[in-house]
C-alpha cells in the first residue's frame, strides 16, 4: 500500500470535539482515490494531517511504508501536495519556486530540467514562470503549485480541491495527468465536492461527513450496478444529518 491511514483522530483544541474521528483510508499503487464531502466535513483536515501540516491526536499514517510520526522525513519524500490555498513564496518567480522545491527534494539537475519542460507545456505556462508569483492570477498560482508538488515525481500525489480556479483546457490536462501518473504505479488522492470530477476520475471514493467516513465505494462496482453518485451522496449525507 502506498497510503494507509488507520484510526485517525484530530482535535483543534483540547476542549473542542473531534474534527475527524476514526478515519481509515488505504491507497494502492495505480489508484485514483477521491474524498468526497460537504464544506467542513473533514476532507481538508484529513489531508492536512497526512501532509504533516496538522498534528493529530491518535492513529497512524503510513506513506510508502514510512510512518509519518516515527519516520517523517522519508514519509514526506514520497508525497507531493497541492493545497487549496496556494500558499507560495510570493517574492520568488515561478521558476525560482519550482527550483527551490527541487532543491528541497534533492532532484537531479537533468530530471528537474525534463520535468519543468514537460509541465510547462502541459499546463500552458509559457514564459510566465519567469514573473514574480505575486503577480500571478489564481489559476496561475494553482499551476505553479502543481509543478512544485510534482517536481520530485512523488509516489503519492495529494490534492485539496484541485480543479478550483483552473481553465477547462488545463483542467482536462490535469485529469489526463492523474491517469498517466497513476498508471505508472503511483497513487493520486484528492478531496473534492465536485461530484462530476470524482465520479469520472476515481477508482475508489470515500464519502466523509461530520468528521467520519460514511462509505467507501468501489467505483467500478458502483457503476456496474447503475449507481448515481450524486443521489447516493446526497441520500447518505442527508440520512446522517437527520440522525
Amino acid at each position: 500500500m502506498l497510503l494507509e491511514i488507520k484510526h485517525l483522530y484530530k482535535k483543534y483544541s483540547k476542549k473542542a470535539n473531534y474534527a475527524i474521528e476514526d478515519i481509515n483510508i488505504v491507497g494502492a499503487p495505480g489508484e485514483i482515490i477521491g474524498i468526497l464531502g460537504h464544506n467542513g466535513a473533514g476532507k481538508s483536515t484529513t489531508i492536512k494531517c497526512v501532509t504533516g501540516m496538522h498534528p493529530y491526536e491518535e492513529g497512524s499514517i503510513t506513506i510508502a511504508g514510512h510512518d509519518l510520526a516515527t519516520d517523517p522525513i522519508n514519509a514526506k519524500k514520497n508525497f507531493g501536495y497541492v493545497s487549496d490555498e496556494y500558499t507560495l513564496f510570493e517574492k520568488m518567480t515561478g521558476f525560482e519556486f519550482i527550483n527551490f522545491m527541487a532543491d528541497v527534494y534533492k532532484v537531479r539537475r537533468r530530471d528537474r530540467k525534463e520535468r519543468i519542460k514537460k509541465f510547462q507545456s502541459m499546463l500552458a505556462l509559457g514564459d510566465s514562470i519567469y514573473k514574480p508569483i505575486s503577480s500571478y492570477s489564481h489559476g496561475m498560482k494553482q499551476k505553479v503549485s502543481f509543478m512544485g508538488a510534482l517536481i520530485h515525481d512523488p509516489k503519492v500525489f495529494i490534492l485539496d480541491e484541485p480543479m478550483v480556479g483552473l481553465d477547462p483546457h488545463t483542467s482536462n490536462q490535469v485529469k489526463n495527468f492523474f491517469r498517466e501518473h497513476s498508471s505508472r504505479g503511483n497513487l493520486v488522492i484528492f478531496s473534492s465536492h465536485n461530484l462530476d470530477v470524482v465520479e469520472k476520475m476515481c477508482d475508489r471514493v470515500y464519502i466523509i461527513d461530520q468528521g467520519q467516513i460514511l462509505q467507501e465505494l468501489d467505483m467500478a462496482v458502483f457503476k456496474s450496478i447503475g449507481g448515481d453518485l450524486e443521489s447516493y451522496f446526497l441520500s447518505m449525507t442527508q440520512r446522517v444529518a437527520k440522525a
Binding site: 501540516m53 520568488m92 527551490f100 532543491d103 532532484v107 514573473k131
Partner: protein, 555 residues
C-alpha cells in the same frame, strides 16, 4: 448612509486595529509601552529644552519670546505637515489604491462613491488622530513656556482642524508619482536596495549631526550653543516661506488672526476640493485595473543547490525583494559600521575630555553590541514574516532544526558581515589595536548569534501566521521589546564589567568581601566569558524541544 457607516466602520477597523489580542503578553506589552513612552518623553524633553532657550535668544539685541516662539512653532508645524504628509502617502497607496477588497466590494450593491467616501473619511480620521498626538505635546510645551492664556487652546483647536488637511493635500499631490516610483522599484531590487540604503545612511548622517550637537551640549552644559546665528536665520527664513505652517503658527499664538484664518481657511477649502477630486479620480482609475504592471523576468539556468543552500536562498529572496524587510535588515546592517563609528567617536571624545582617560576596548565593545541588538531585532520576525508559507515548510522532507538553522545561518552571515565591517572601520579610523579588534569582533559575533537565536525562538513560540499585518506588528513589537531588553542587559553587563576590569587592570581591587589581583588578560577574558555564557543560554533556549515547537506551528 447606512452603507457608508458600515463601510466606514470596516475601514476604521483596518486603520485602527482593536487592542484585543488572544495571546495576551503582559511583559511584552509593558516593555513595548515603556519603550514608546521613553522615546516620546525624550523627544518632548528635547523640544522643551530647545524651545525654552530659543525664546530667550536676542535678535538685534532684543529678546522677543513671541517672535522666536512663532519661528520655532512654524518649524515644528512644517516638520509635522511634511512627516504626516509622507505617512499619509503610504496609507493612501495601501488603503485606497492597493487594497484588494475593492474586488469584493465591486460585486456588492454599493455605490462606488459611497465606497470611495468611506475610505476617504477613514483616512482623514487616521490623519486627525495621528496629528492629535503630534500637535498636542508641542502645544503643551509652548503653553508652559509662554503662558499665553486660555485662548491658546481655542487657537490650538483651530490648528488641529487645519493642519491635517494640509498634510493630506501633500499626500494627494504626490500619490501618482509615488505609485509610479514604487511600481518601478518593485521589480528593480538592487536599485531599491541602493535607494533605501542611501536614505538610511542619509538619515544617519543627520543623526550624527545631532549626536555632534549632543557632544557640544555635554561639553558646554548649555543648549544655547545649538542655537547658532545660522540656525536662527534659517528659522526666520523658513518662517517667511513655509506656507501654510506659518499661518498655523500665527493662529496658535493669536497673531494676525483674521489674515491667518483667512489664509488657512482658503488652504483648507482648496485642500478639501483637490483632495476629494484627485483621490476620487485616482480611485476610479485604479478601481478596475491593477496599477502595477509586471514585466516578464529574465530566463534563468537551472541550478542545483543543497537543501540548506536552497532554504537560505529562499530567505535571501524573501528579505531582499520585500522593501520593508530590505530596509529593516539589509539597509540597517549596511549602515551599522557608520553608526558605530559616529557613536564611538562621540563617546570617546566625551570620556577623554571629561576624565582624561580612554577606554577604547570597553567603549567599542559596548557600542558594537548595542548596534548588533538593533540590527538583529529583525530576526524577531524570522517565522512570522513567512505567514502561511511557514506551514508549507512543515511538509518538506527536512528536519525542523535544518529549516530554522537556514534562517539563523542567513541572519548570522548578514549580522557577522556588519559586525566585522564595524570593527574594521574602528581599526582603520580610530587607531584601534589589532588585538583589541579581534577580541571585539569575537565577542560581537558571539553576542549577535545569541541575539539571533533568542529572537528566532521567541518568534517561533509566539508566531501568528494568519493574522493581519497590524496584529503581526503588535506581537512583533512585544517580542522585539523583550529581545532588546535581554540584549541590552547582557551588553551593559559586558560593557560595564570590561570597563571595571580595565580600570583595575594590573592592580588589586578594593576589598569589599574579598580582593582580587586583576591581571591585564582579565580585561578580555571577563567579557569573553560573559558573551560565551549568554551564547550558551541562548543556544539552550533555542534548541530545547525545537522540533516539537515547530510541529505545533498552526494557523
Amino acid at each position: 448612509m447606512k452603507n457608508f457607516l458600515l463601510l466606514f466602520k470596516h475601514e476604521r477597523r483596518a486603520l485602527f486595529p482593536s487592542a484585543k489580542n488572544k495571546k495576551l503578553d503582559i511583559i511584552g506589552g509593558l516593555l513595548s509601552a515603556i519603550v514608546t513612552l521613553v522615546v516620546i518623553g525624550a523627544f518632548a524633553l528635547m523640544i522643551y529644552a530647545v524651545a525654552e532657550s530659543y525664546v530667550t535668544i536676542k535678535v538685534n539685541k532684543v529678546i522677543d519670546p513671541t517672535a522666536r516662539a512663532h519661528e520655532l512653532l512654524n518649524a515644528l508645524y512644517t516638520v509635522i505637515v511634511v512627516a504626516l504628509g509622507f505617512m499619509c502617502l503610504e496609507k493612501l497607496r495601501t488603503n485606497l489604491v492597493r487594497k484588494t477588497d475593492r474586488a469584493l466590494f465591486l460585486r456588492l450593491p454599493i455605490k462606488q462613491s459611497t465606497l470611495f467616501l468611506s475610505k476617504f473619511a477613514a483616512l482623514l480620521l487616521w490623519n486627525y488622530v495621528t496629528a492629535f498626538f503630534l500637535i498636542i505635546p508641542i502645544n503643551i510645551i509652548f503653553f508652559v513656556i509662554l503662558k499665553p492664556g486660555f485662548m491658546f487652546w481655542l487657537h490650538t483647536a483651530l490648528v488641529f482642524i487645519l493642519l491635517p488637511l494640509a498634510s493630506f493635500l501633500i499626500a494627494t499631490l504626490l500619490i501618482v508619482p509615488y505609485i509610479y516610483v514604487i511600481n518601478f522599484l518593485s521589480t528593480k531590487y538592487f536599485i531599491a536596495f541602493i535607494t533605501v540604503s542611501s536614505l538610511v545612511i542619509g538619515a544617519f548622517l543627520l543623526y550624527s549631526r545631532f549626536l555632534a550637537a549632543l557632544q557640544g551640549l555635554f561639553e558646554t552644559s548649555s543648549i544655547k550653543f545649538l542655537l547658532s546665528t545660522e540656525l536662527v536665520k534659517f528659522l526666520q527664513t523658513l518662517n517667511k516661506f513655509s506656507y501654510p505652517a506659518n499661518s498655523l503658527a500665527s493662529i496658535a499664538l493669536g497673531q494676525d488672526m483674521l489674515k491667518s484664518i483667512l489664509i488657512a481657511g482658503i488652504t483648507a477649502i482648496v485642500s478639501l476640493v483637490v483632495i476629494f477630486v484627485s483621490t476620487n479620480a485616482l480611485y476610479k482609475l485604479t478601481l478596475y485595473r491593477n496599477a502595477a504592471h509586471v514585466k516578464r523576468g529574465r530566463k534563468k539556468m537551472i541550478r542545483r543547490r543543497t537543501v540548506l543552500g536552497g532554504l537560505m536562498r529562499k530567505e535571501f529572496i524573501s528579505v531582499f525583494r520585500e522593501p520593508k524587510h530590505m530596509f529593516s535588515y539589509f539597509s540597517i546592517a549596511l549602515s551599522m559600521p557608520f553608526m558605530v563609528y559616529c557613536c564611538y567617536t562621540l563617546f570617546d571624545t566625551l570620556i577623554s575630555n571629561a576624565l582624561g582617560l580612554r577606554f577604547e576596548f570597553s567603549l567599542a565593545l559596548t557600542v558594537i553590541l548595542v548596534f548588533a541588538i538593533l540590527t538583529n531585532t529583525f530576526c524577531t520576525t524570522n517565522i512570522t514574516r513567512d505567514g502561511l508559507t511557514a506551514l508549507k515548510a512543515k511538509m518538506f522532507p527536512v528536519k525542523a532544526s535544518k529549516i530554522l538553522f537556514a534562517k539563523v545561518w542567513f541572519c548570522c552571515i548578514i549580522s557577522s558581515l556588519s559586525v566585522i565591517a564595524s570593527v574594521v572601520v574602528l581599526y582603520l579610523t580610530s587607531g584601534f589595536s589589532l588585538k583589541n579588534s579581534l577580541i571585539v569582533a569575537a565577542i560581537g559575533l558571539t553576542f549577535s548569534l545569541s541575539q539571533i537565536l533568542i529572537a528566532t525562538r521567541m518568534d517561533l513560540n509566539h508566531a501568528l501566521l494568519t493574522a493581519s499585518p497590524s496584529e503581526i506588528a503588535k506581537v512583533s513589537n512585544r517580542t522585539i521589546a523583550k529581545t532588546i531588553t535581554l540584549g541590552l542587559f547582557f551588553a551593559l553587563i559586558i560593557g560595564v564589567l570590561s570597563l571595571f576590569v580595565a580600570v583595575f587592570a594590573g592592580k588589586t581591587t578594593p576589598s569589599f568581601l574579598f580582593s582580587i589581583d586583576v591581571k591585564e588578560s582579565y580585561t578580555y577574558l571577563v567579557p569573553l566569558a560573559i558573551a560565551a555564557f549568554y551564547f550558551l543560554i541562548s543556544l539552550l533556549y533555542y534548541s530545547v524541544r525545537i522540533e516539537k515547537s515547530f510541529k505545533k506551528l498552526v494557523r
